[in-house]
Symmetry: C2
Subunit: 196 residues, 2 copies
DNA sequence: TATCTTAAATCAAACGTTTGAACAGCATCC
DNA sequence: GGATGCTGTTCAAACGTTTGATTTAAGATA
Protein backbone atom coordinates (compact mmCIF):
# COMPACT_ATOMS: atom_id res chain seq x y z
CA UNK A 1 0.00 0.00 0.00
CA UNK A 2 3.03 2.29 -0.19
CA UNK A 3 2.74 5.35 -2.34
CA UNK A 4 4.14 5.04 -5.88
CA UNK A 5 5.31 1.50 -5.47
CA UNK A 6 2.08 0.60 -7.17
CA UNK A 7 3.17 1.59 -10.64
CA UNK A 8 6.50 -0.17 -10.27
CA UNK A 9 4.87 -3.25 -8.80
CA UNK A 10 2.55 -3.56 -11.77
CA UNK A 11 5.37 -3.28 -14.29
CA UNK A 12 7.54 -5.75 -12.40
CA UNK A 13 4.76 -8.29 -12.26
CA UNK A 14 3.75 -7.70 -15.86
CA UNK A 15 7.21 -8.43 -17.34
CA UNK A 16 7.29 -12.21 -16.80
CA UNK A 17 3.59 -12.58 -17.55
CA UNK A 18 3.64 -10.70 -20.86
CA UNK A 19 6.90 -12.44 -21.76
CA UNK A 20 5.46 -15.88 -21.20
CA UNK A 21 1.98 -15.48 -22.64
CA UNK A 22 2.05 -12.43 -24.88
CA UNK A 23 -0.22 -9.39 -24.83
CA UNK A 24 -3.41 -11.36 -25.49
CA UNK A 25 -2.47 -14.26 -23.24
CA UNK A 26 -2.79 -12.32 -19.98
CA UNK A 27 -5.84 -10.63 -18.53
CA UNK A 28 -5.82 -7.42 -16.59
CA UNK A 29 -7.13 -9.31 -13.58
CA UNK A 30 -4.21 -11.73 -13.73
CA UNK A 31 -1.82 -8.80 -14.00
CA UNK A 32 -3.37 -7.00 -11.05
CA UNK A 33 -3.42 -10.15 -8.92
CA UNK A 34 0.24 -10.88 -9.67
CA UNK A 35 1.19 -7.32 -8.76
CA UNK A 36 -0.90 -7.39 -5.60
CA UNK A 37 -2.50 -4.15 -6.70
CA UNK A 38 -6.00 -3.11 -7.54
CA UNK A 39 -7.42 -3.80 -10.96
CA UNK A 40 -8.15 -0.21 -11.80
CA UNK A 41 -4.57 0.87 -11.18
CA UNK A 42 -3.65 -0.47 -14.62
CA UNK A 43 -6.01 1.94 -16.32
CA UNK A 44 -5.08 4.69 -13.92
CA UNK A 45 -1.33 4.55 -14.51
CA UNK A 46 -1.09 3.19 -18.02
CA UNK A 47 -4.41 4.00 -19.64
CA UNK A 48 -5.21 0.33 -20.05
CA UNK A 49 -3.64 -3.01 -20.75
CA UNK A 50 -2.03 -1.99 -24.03
CA UNK A 51 -0.50 1.03 -22.36
CA UNK A 52 1.03 -1.20 -19.72
CA UNK A 53 2.39 -3.47 -22.44
CA UNK A 54 3.94 -0.49 -24.19
CA UNK A 55 5.54 0.65 -20.93
CA UNK A 56 6.98 -2.81 -20.34
CA UNK A 57 8.29 -2.99 -23.90
CA UNK A 58 9.91 0.43 -23.67
CA UNK A 59 11.62 -0.54 -20.44
CA UNK A 60 12.84 -3.84 -21.88
CA UNK A 61 14.22 -2.33 -25.06
CA UNK A 62 15.92 0.57 -23.31
CA UNK A 63 19.03 -1.61 -22.91
CA UNK A 64 19.32 -1.95 -26.67
CA UNK A 65 20.22 1.71 -26.95
CA UNK A 66 23.62 1.02 -25.46
CA UNK A 67 24.57 -0.55 -28.78
CA UNK A 68 25.51 2.91 -29.98
CA UNK A 69 28.59 2.82 -27.77
CA UNK A 70 30.11 0.31 -30.16
CA UNK A 71 30.29 2.99 -32.84
CA UNK A 72 32.13 5.40 -30.59
CA UNK A 73 34.53 2.82 -29.18
CA UNK A 74 37.95 2.99 -30.76
CA UNK A 75 38.82 -0.66 -31.16
CA UNK A 76 39.62 -3.04 -33.98
CA UNK A 77 36.60 -3.62 -36.24
CA UNK A 78 36.50 -7.33 -35.59
CA UNK A 79 36.53 -6.64 -31.88
CA UNK A 80 33.45 -4.49 -32.34
CA UNK A 81 31.59 -7.58 -33.44
CA UNK A 82 32.88 -9.47 -30.46
CA UNK A 83 31.74 -6.60 -28.29
CA UNK A 84 28.28 -6.92 -29.83
CA UNK A 85 28.14 -10.66 -29.16
CA UNK A 86 29.33 -10.15 -25.60
CA UNK A 87 26.82 -7.37 -25.01
CA UNK A 88 24.04 -9.52 -26.42
CA UNK A 89 24.82 -12.45 -24.15
CA UNK A 90 25.17 -10.19 -21.15
CA UNK A 91 21.83 -8.52 -21.95
CA UNK A 92 20.01 -11.83 -22.12
CA UNK A 93 21.55 -12.87 -18.84
CA UNK A 94 20.60 -9.66 -17.07
CA UNK A 95 17.08 -9.40 -18.44
CA UNK A 96 16.02 -12.94 -19.20
CA UNK A 97 12.72 -11.88 -20.77
CA UNK A 98 14.12 -9.53 -23.40
CA UNK A 99 14.44 -12.13 -26.15
CA UNK A 100 10.86 -13.22 -25.62
CA UNK A 101 9.47 -9.73 -26.18
CA UNK A 102 11.87 -9.35 -29.05
CA UNK A 103 10.72 -12.42 -31.00
CA UNK A 104 7.14 -12.27 -29.85
CA UNK A 105 6.86 -8.84 -31.44
CA UNK A 106 8.53 -10.12 -34.59
CA UNK A 107 6.16 -13.05 -35.06
CA UNK A 108 2.98 -11.61 -33.60
CA UNK A 109 3.41 -7.87 -33.90
CA UNK A 110 1.26 -5.64 -31.73
CA UNK A 111 0.53 -1.94 -32.15
CA UNK A 112 3.91 -1.31 -30.53
CA UNK A 113 5.89 -2.99 -33.29
CA UNK A 114 6.29 -0.01 -35.60
CA UNK A 115 6.86 2.51 -32.84
CA UNK A 116 8.99 0.60 -30.33
CA UNK A 117 10.23 -2.77 -31.52
CA UNK A 118 11.22 -2.05 -35.11
CA UNK A 119 13.28 1.09 -34.38
CA UNK A 120 15.08 -0.66 -31.52
CA UNK A 121 16.11 -3.67 -33.59
CA UNK A 122 16.89 -1.55 -36.62
CA UNK A 123 19.40 0.48 -34.68
CA UNK A 124 21.28 -2.68 -33.78
CA UNK A 125 21.35 -3.90 -37.38
CA UNK A 126 22.52 -0.54 -38.67
CA UNK A 127 25.27 -0.31 -36.07
CA UNK A 128 26.55 -3.72 -37.14
CA UNK A 129 26.32 -2.70 -40.80
CA UNK A 130 28.37 0.41 -40.12
CA UNK A 131 31.01 -1.65 -38.36
CA UNK A 132 31.20 -4.02 -41.31
CA UNK A 133 31.65 -1.32 -43.93
CA UNK A 134 34.33 0.14 -41.68
CA UNK A 135 36.12 -3.19 -41.77
CA UNK A 136 35.72 -3.22 -45.53
CA UNK A 137 37.30 0.20 -45.93
CA UNK A 138 40.23 -0.92 -43.81
CA UNK A 139 40.53 -3.84 -46.24
CA UNK A 140 40.40 -6.30 -43.41
CA UNK A 141 37.28 -8.12 -44.58
CA UNK A 142 36.55 -10.01 -47.75
CA UNK A 143 34.95 -7.67 -50.24
CA UNK A 144 32.84 -10.40 -51.87
CA UNK A 145 30.51 -10.73 -48.90
CA UNK A 146 27.12 -9.07 -48.71
CA UNK A 147 27.28 -6.79 -45.64
CA UNK A 148 23.69 -7.30 -44.56
CA UNK A 149 23.76 -11.07 -44.98
CA UNK A 150 26.98 -11.22 -43.02
CA UNK A 151 25.94 -9.23 -39.97
CA UNK A 152 22.56 -10.97 -39.92
CA UNK A 153 24.41 -14.28 -39.89
CA UNK A 154 26.38 -13.20 -36.82
CA UNK A 155 23.26 -11.92 -35.08
CA UNK A 156 21.47 -15.13 -36.01
CA UNK A 157 24.14 -17.37 -34.51
CA UNK A 158 23.99 -15.75 -31.10
CA UNK A 159 20.27 -15.03 -30.90
CA UNK A 160 19.13 -18.40 -32.17
CA UNK A 161 21.19 -20.12 -29.52
CA UNK A 162 19.05 -18.48 -26.83
CA UNK A 163 15.82 -18.73 -28.79
CA UNK A 164 16.10 -22.49 -29.06
CA UNK A 165 16.90 -22.98 -25.39
CA UNK A 166 13.43 -24.43 -24.56
CA UNK A 167 14.11 -27.19 -27.08
CA UNK A 168 17.81 -27.80 -26.67
CA UNK A 169 18.01 -27.44 -22.90
CA UNK A 170 18.50 -31.19 -22.41
CA UNK A 171 21.14 -31.40 -25.15
CA UNK A 172 23.11 -28.19 -24.60
CA UNK A 173 24.34 -26.74 -21.35
CA UNK A 174 22.88 -23.23 -21.28
CA UNK A 175 24.43 -22.18 -18.00
CA UNK A 176 26.24 -18.82 -17.94
CA UNK A 177 29.44 -20.71 -17.09
CA UNK A 178 29.66 -21.75 -20.70
CA UNK A 179 28.99 -18.27 -22.15
CA UNK A 180 32.67 -17.54 -22.71
CA UNK A 181 33.10 -20.76 -24.69
CA UNK A 182 30.02 -19.96 -26.75
CA UNK A 183 31.20 -16.43 -27.53
CA UNK A 184 34.63 -17.64 -28.63
CA UNK A 185 33.03 -20.38 -30.67
CA UNK A 186 30.76 -18.05 -32.59
CA UNK A 187 33.49 -15.45 -33.07
CA UNK A 188 35.78 -18.21 -34.30
CA UNK A 189 33.38 -19.25 -37.06
CA UNK A 190 32.55 -15.65 -37.92
CA UNK A 191 36.19 -14.55 -38.04
CA UNK A 192 37.22 -17.34 -40.39
CA UNK A 193 34.26 -16.45 -42.55
CA UNK A 194 34.87 -12.74 -43.02
CA UNK A 195 38.63 -12.20 -42.77
CA UNK A 196 40.62 -11.85 -45.95
CA UNK B 1 -22.29 -28.24 -49.96
CA UNK B 2 -19.28 -30.31 -50.93
CA UNK B 3 -18.26 -33.03 -48.59
CA UNK B 4 -15.16 -32.32 -46.57
CA UNK B 5 -14.38 -28.91 -47.99
CA UNK B 6 -15.59 -27.39 -44.77
CA UNK B 7 -12.85 -28.84 -42.62
CA UNK B 8 -10.21 -27.88 -45.17
CA UNK B 9 -11.64 -24.38 -45.55
CA UNK B 10 -11.45 -23.79 -41.83
CA UNK B 11 -7.83 -24.94 -41.61
CA UNK B 12 -6.83 -22.89 -44.65
CA UNK B 13 -8.38 -19.75 -43.21
CA UNK B 14 -6.99 -20.41 -39.75
CA UNK B 15 -3.35 -20.67 -40.85
CA UNK B 16 -2.71 -16.98 -41.65
CA UNK B 17 -4.86 -15.82 -38.75
CA UNK B 18 -3.16 -17.94 -36.10
CA UNK B 19 0.22 -17.14 -37.64
CA UNK B 20 -0.36 -13.40 -37.45
CA UNK B 21 -2.08 -13.08 -34.09
CA UNK B 22 -1.33 -16.24 -32.18
CA UNK B 23 -3.73 -18.61 -30.48
CA UNK B 24 -5.14 -16.00 -28.11
CA UNK B 25 -5.27 -13.24 -30.68
CA UNK B 26 -8.06 -14.76 -32.76
CA UNK B 27 -11.63 -15.59 -31.76
CA UNK B 28 -13.62 -18.54 -33.05
CA UNK B 29 -16.07 -16.13 -34.62
CA UNK B 30 -13.29 -14.46 -36.58
CA UNK B 31 -12.01 -17.85 -37.70
CA UNK B 32 -15.45 -18.98 -38.85
CA UNK B 33 -16.09 -15.73 -40.67
CA UNK B 34 -12.74 -15.90 -42.49
CA UNK B 35 -13.42 -19.49 -43.53
CA UNK B 36 -16.91 -18.67 -44.70
CA UNK B 37 -18.14 -21.55 -42.62
CA UNK B 38 -20.46 -21.85 -39.69
CA UNK B 39 -19.25 -21.25 -36.17
CA UNK B 40 -20.35 -24.67 -34.98
CA UNK B 41 -18.14 -26.42 -37.52
CA UNK B 42 -15.05 -25.58 -35.49
CA UNK B 43 -16.36 -27.42 -32.49
CA UNK B 44 -17.75 -30.17 -34.71
CA UNK B 45 -14.51 -30.94 -36.54
CA UNK B 46 -11.84 -29.93 -34.09
CA UNK B 47 -13.52 -29.96 -30.70
CA UNK B 48 -12.90 -26.27 -30.21
CA UNK B 49 -10.41 -23.53 -30.92
CA UNK B 50 -7.42 -25.25 -29.34
CA UNK B 51 -8.13 -28.39 -31.32
CA UNK B 52 -8.12 -26.37 -34.51
CA UNK B 53 -4.85 -24.78 -33.49
CA UNK B 54 -3.34 -28.20 -32.85
CA UNK B 55 -4.53 -29.39 -36.26
CA UNK B 56 -2.99 -26.36 -37.94
CA UNK B 57 0.27 -26.83 -36.08
CA UNK B 58 0.46 -30.51 -36.97
CA UNK B 59 -0.12 -29.73 -40.62
CA UNK B 60 2.50 -26.97 -40.61
CA UNK B 61 5.17 -29.07 -38.93
CA UNK B 62 4.53 -32.13 -41.10
CA UNK B 63 7.06 -30.78 -43.61
CA UNK B 64 9.78 -30.86 -40.98
CA UNK B 65 9.66 -34.66 -40.99
CA UNK B 66 11.31 -34.71 -44.39
CA UNK B 67 14.55 -33.76 -42.64
CA UNK B 68 15.13 -37.44 -42.00
CA UNK B 69 15.90 -37.91 -45.69
CA UNK B 70 19.17 -36.12 -45.08
CA UNK B 71 20.39 -39.01 -42.94
CA UNK B 72 19.60 -41.57 -45.61
CA UNK B 73 21.08 -39.56 -48.46
CA UNK B 74 24.53 -40.74 -49.44
CA UNK B 75 26.33 -37.47 -50.07
CA UNK B 76 29.31 -35.64 -48.66
CA UNK B 77 28.75 -34.56 -45.07
CA UNK B 78 29.21 -30.89 -45.86
CA UNK B 79 26.64 -31.18 -48.60
CA UNK B 80 24.17 -32.54 -46.07
CA UNK B 81 24.34 -29.20 -44.32
CA UNK B 82 23.82 -27.42 -47.60
CA UNK B 83 20.85 -29.68 -48.22
CA UNK B 84 19.46 -28.65 -44.86
CA UNK B 85 19.87 -24.95 -45.61
CA UNK B 86 18.28 -25.39 -49.02
CA UNK B 87 15.40 -27.40 -47.60
CA UNK B 88 14.85 -24.75 -44.92
CA UNK B 89 14.69 -21.90 -47.42
CA UNK B 90 12.43 -23.88 -49.71
CA UNK B 91 10.13 -24.73 -46.79
CA UNK B 92 9.78 -21.09 -45.79
CA UNK B 93 9.02 -20.18 -49.39
CA UNK B 94 6.36 -22.85 -49.79
CA UNK B 95 4.69 -22.34 -46.45
CA UNK B 96 5.33 -18.73 -45.51
CA UNK B 97 3.69 -19.08 -42.10
CA UNK B 98 5.79 -21.93 -40.80
CA UNK B 99 8.45 -19.79 -39.16
CA UNK B 100 5.79 -17.79 -37.35
CA UNK B 101 4.27 -20.85 -35.72
CA UNK B 102 7.75 -22.11 -35.04
CA UNK B 103 8.97 -19.06 -33.12
CA UNK B 104 5.60 -18.18 -31.66
CA UNK B 105 5.57 -21.56 -29.96
CA UNK B 106 9.13 -21.05 -28.77
CA UNK B 107 8.47 -17.69 -27.16
CA UNK B 108 4.85 -18.12 -26.08
CA UNK B 109 4.41 -21.86 -25.79
CA UNK B 110 0.89 -23.28 -25.83
CA UNK B 111 -0.29 -26.70 -24.72
CA UNK B 112 0.95 -28.00 -28.07
CA UNK B 113 4.57 -27.15 -27.39
CA UNK B 114 5.61 -30.34 -25.63
CA UNK B 115 3.60 -32.65 -27.87
CA UNK B 116 4.02 -31.10 -31.31
CA UNK B 117 6.53 -28.26 -31.50
CA UNK B 118 9.36 -29.55 -29.36
CA UNK B 119 9.59 -33.02 -30.95
CA UNK B 120 9.50 -31.51 -34.44
CA UNK B 121 12.33 -29.08 -33.82
CA UNK B 122 14.31 -31.60 -31.81
CA UNK B 123 14.34 -34.00 -34.71
CA UNK B 124 15.91 -31.34 -36.91
CA UNK B 125 18.60 -30.54 -34.35
CA UNK B 126 19.44 -34.19 -33.82
CA UNK B 127 19.66 -34.86 -37.53
CA UNK B 128 22.13 -32.00 -37.87
CA UNK B 129 24.07 -33.27 -34.88
CA UNK B 130 24.32 -36.73 -36.43
CA UNK B 131 25.60 -35.23 -39.66
CA UNK B 132 28.25 -33.28 -37.77
CA UNK B 133 29.58 -36.25 -35.82
CA UNK B 134 29.67 -38.11 -39.12
CA UNK B 135 31.87 -35.37 -40.54
CA UNK B 136 34.00 -35.60 -37.42
CA UNK B 137 34.53 -39.35 -37.83
CA UNK B 138 35.56 -38.78 -41.43
CA UNK B 139 38.09 -36.31 -40.07
CA UNK B 140 36.77 -33.61 -42.36
CA UNK B 141 35.76 -31.19 -39.63
CA UNK B 142 37.75 -29.46 -36.96
CA UNK B 143 37.61 -31.54 -33.80
CA UNK B 144 37.88 -28.54 -31.49
CA UNK B 145 34.35 -27.36 -32.23
CA UNK B 146 31.38 -28.08 -30.02
CA UNK B 147 28.94 -30.01 -32.21
CA UNK B 148 25.77 -28.53 -30.75
CA UNK B 149 27.05 -24.95 -30.84
CA UNK B 150 28.13 -25.42 -34.44
CA UNK B 151 24.90 -26.80 -35.87
CA UNK B 152 22.90 -24.27 -33.88
CA UNK B 153 25.03 -21.55 -35.41
CA UNK B 154 24.19 -22.78 -38.90
CA UNK B 155 20.49 -23.06 -38.09
CA UNK B 156 20.62 -19.61 -36.54
CA UNK B 157 22.13 -17.97 -39.60
CA UNK B 158 19.41 -19.18 -41.94
CA UNK B 159 16.42 -18.92 -39.60
CA UNK B 160 17.28 -15.51 -38.22
CA UNK B 161 17.47 -14.11 -41.73
CA UNK B 162 13.79 -14.89 -42.23
CA UNK B 163 12.78 -14.04 -38.69
CA UNK B 164 14.12 -10.50 -39.01
CA UNK B 165 12.43 -9.88 -42.34
CA UNK B 166 9.76 -7.55 -40.87
CA UNK B 167 12.57 -5.28 -39.66
CA UNK B 168 15.14 -5.60 -42.43
CA UNK B 169 12.74 -5.65 -45.38
CA UNK B 170 13.74 -2.12 -46.43
CA UNK B 171 17.47 -2.83 -46.07
CA UNK B 172 17.72 -6.36 -47.46
CA UNK B 173 16.13 -7.78 -50.59
CA UNK B 174 14.15 -10.78 -49.36
CA UNK B 175 12.89 -11.87 -52.75
CA UNK B 176 13.30 -15.55 -53.66
CA UNK B 177 15.54 -14.45 -56.54
CA UNK B 178 18.28 -13.87 -54.04
CA UNK B 179 17.86 -17.18 -52.19
CA UNK B 180 20.70 -18.84 -54.07
CA UNK B 181 23.08 -16.04 -53.15
CA UNK B 182 21.99 -16.25 -49.53
CA UNK B 183 22.45 -20.01 -49.37
CA UNK B 184 25.94 -19.82 -50.87
CA UNK B 185 26.81 -16.96 -48.54
CA UNK B 186 25.83 -18.84 -45.41
CA UNK B 187 27.45 -22.06 -46.57
CA UNK B 188 30.58 -20.11 -47.38
CA UNK B 189 30.90 -18.76 -43.84
CA UNK B 190 29.95 -22.09 -42.31
CA UNK B 191 32.37 -24.08 -44.47
CA UNK B 192 35.33 -21.87 -43.64
CA UNK B 193 34.39 -22.20 -40.00
CA UNK B 194 34.18 -25.97 -39.70
CA UNK B 195 36.59 -27.42 -42.26
CA UNK B 196 39.97 -28.56 -41.11
C1' DT C 1 -31.68 -43.37 -43.24
C1' DA C 2 -27.47 -41.50 -41.82
C1' DT C 3 -24.26 -37.95 -42.39
C1' DC C 4 -23.25 -33.39 -42.96
C1' DT C 5 -24.26 -28.26 -42.92
C1' DT C 6 -26.69 -24.26 -41.74
C1' DA C 7 -28.44 -20.20 -38.95
C1' DA C 8 -29.97 -18.72 -34.68
C1' DA C 9 -30.22 -18.77 -29.92
C1' DT C 10 -28.38 -19.50 -25.47
C1' DC C 11 -25.09 -20.18 -21.75
C1' DA C 12 -21.82 -19.03 -17.99
C1' DA C 13 -17.55 -17.08 -17.72
C1' DA C 14 -14.21 -13.82 -18.63
C1' DC C 15 -12.95 -9.71 -20.84
C1' DG C 16 -11.15 -4.49 -20.50
C1' DT C 17 -12.83 -0.41 -18.68
C1' DT C 18 -15.29 2.91 -15.75
C1' DT C 19 -17.42 4.50 -11.78
C1' DG C 20 -18.05 7.02 -7.41
C1' DA C 21 -16.65 6.87 -2.93
C1' DA C 22 -12.93 6.96 0.14
C1' DC C 23 -8.42 8.40 1.73
C1' DA C 24 -4.13 10.59 2.31
C1' DG C 25 -1.16 14.83 2.29
C1' DC C 26 -0.89 19.72 1.81
C1' DA C 27 -1.67 24.04 0.87
C1' DT C 28 -5.01 28.06 1.71
C1' DC C 29 -8.11 31.05 4.21
C1' DC C 30 -10.99 33.03 8.03
C1' DG D 1 -6.01 26.34 14.84
C1' DG D 2 -9.51 24.43 12.67
C1' DA D 3 -12.26 24.28 8.65
C1' DT D 4 -11.97 24.18 3.65
C1' DG D 5 -10.81 22.83 -0.98
C1' DC D 6 -7.54 20.52 -3.93
C1' DT D 7 -4.71 16.75 -5.97
C1' DG D 8 -3.06 12.32 -6.44
C1' DT D 9 -3.97 7.69 -5.11
C1' DT D 10 -6.55 3.47 -3.94
C1' DC D 11 -10.53 0.67 -3.70
C1' DA D 12 -14.65 -2.51 -4.35
C1' DA D 13 -18.24 -2.86 -7.36
C1' DA D 14 -20.42 -2.77 -11.50
C1' DC D 15 -20.42 -1.56 -16.46
C1' DG D 16 -21.51 -3.44 -21.20
C1' DT D 17 -19.25 -6.48 -24.37
C1' DT D 18 -17.13 -10.49 -26.01
C1' DT D 19 -15.41 -14.88 -25.22
C1' DG D 20 -15.61 -20.24 -26.32
C1' DA D 21 -18.85 -23.67 -26.28
C1' DT D 22 -23.24 -25.84 -26.81
C1' DT D 23 -27.81 -26.65 -28.34
C1' DT D 24 -31.64 -26.40 -31.25
C1' DA D 25 -34.26 -27.25 -35.31
C1' DA D 26 -34.38 -27.09 -40.08
C1' DG D 27 -32.39 -28.32 -44.39
C1' DA D 28 -29.12 -30.62 -47.68
C1' DT D 29 -26.61 -34.54 -49.41
C1' DA D 30 -25.72 -39.12 -50.82
Amino acid sequence: MANNDCRANIIAAAIPLFAAKGLNGVSVRELARAAGENLSMISYYFGGKEGLYAAVLTEQFAVLDKIEEIERTDIDTLQKFELYVRATVSRYRKSPYLLRFYTSELTNPTACFETITKPAIKKVVQTLLKAFTEGLSHEKFRDDLDPADTVLALAGMINFYFLLEPVTADVVDHSPDRDEVLIRHIMDIFTRGVLK
